[in-house]
């Protein structure tokens, strides 16, 4: 039986690895990958709290399931936007994108 603190520690570390990547990287796709790490850290927390503290309910599990669905849709739209931005600016760095409409 693994104590719930271990899951909390793992999730906190993964979350801030994602935050670190989001702050330091300047490539759009790399920033999106960091956001995925953050989402996965939150999912671990939902599942662990559900199973270890409230084992009679299923709320955390369904929350995780819906987060997975929303994350897939979000990354598809973000990739569409990134490809469009690349067509327009010929670059995939956030620093080169300074105006939405030119």
């Amino acid at each position: 039986m693994i104590p719930v603190e271990c899951y909390f520690a793992l999730s906190a570390l993964l979350f801030f690895i994602g935050v670190f990547g989001f702050v330091t990287r300047r490539n759009l796709i790399a920033m999106l990958i960091s956001v995925e790490l953050v989402l996965n850290a939150v999912d671990i927390n939902f599942a662990a709290v559900n199973k270890l503290l409230y084992p009679q309910g299923m709320e955390g599990m369904f929350m995780t399931l819906f987060v997975i669905g929303v994350a897939a849709a979000e990354s598809a739209v973000a990739i569409a936007i990134i490809i469009n931005v690349y067509r327009k600016f010929r670059s995939d760095s956030v620093d080169s994108i300074t105006n939405l409409k030119n």
Partner: protein, 174 residues
Amino acid sequence: MGSIFVFIILAAVILIAGLLCVTTKRIMRAATYMLFVLFGVAGIYFLLGYTFLGAAQIAVYAGGVTMIYVFAIQLVSKQTLQGLVERIKCSRLISGGLAAFAGLAVVGFVIYKTVLTLNVPEAAPAIEEVSMDKIGEALVGSEKYQYVLPFEFISLFLLACIIGGLVVSRKEED
């Protein structure tokens, strides 16, 4: 007792792959390391007894989202496919590290202070997998603690995202 070793191995895989994912300079490698993180998280779900969740994680994230990223990397960086190297400024590295470390310190302090007040169930329940019947009934039932409304909402949301993705990424004919 065996599960603690599995947890340690999974945690090590997740954290090392995550660190390499945000520090590597090549985007393709970052996507590959993200795949390892996703598999590790799926392993955590299996360890917790959520086999359906682990299967969904592998099918949707590792199978779908990673493929989208690989396609995007190939489409975006055609010219510099092999050597897409990103320069990271040292000052940004330090400031990002400080921000992440400060956040981690705050969260760690909060966890340390509150984890003793949690009411963990005394009789530690044996981790057993949630049966597919219960998941299916809860997913499409409309009573209390059942989730037909978010289920329908997410189907509508996925439809909106398909249309939005097509509209955003189509070529303008002119």
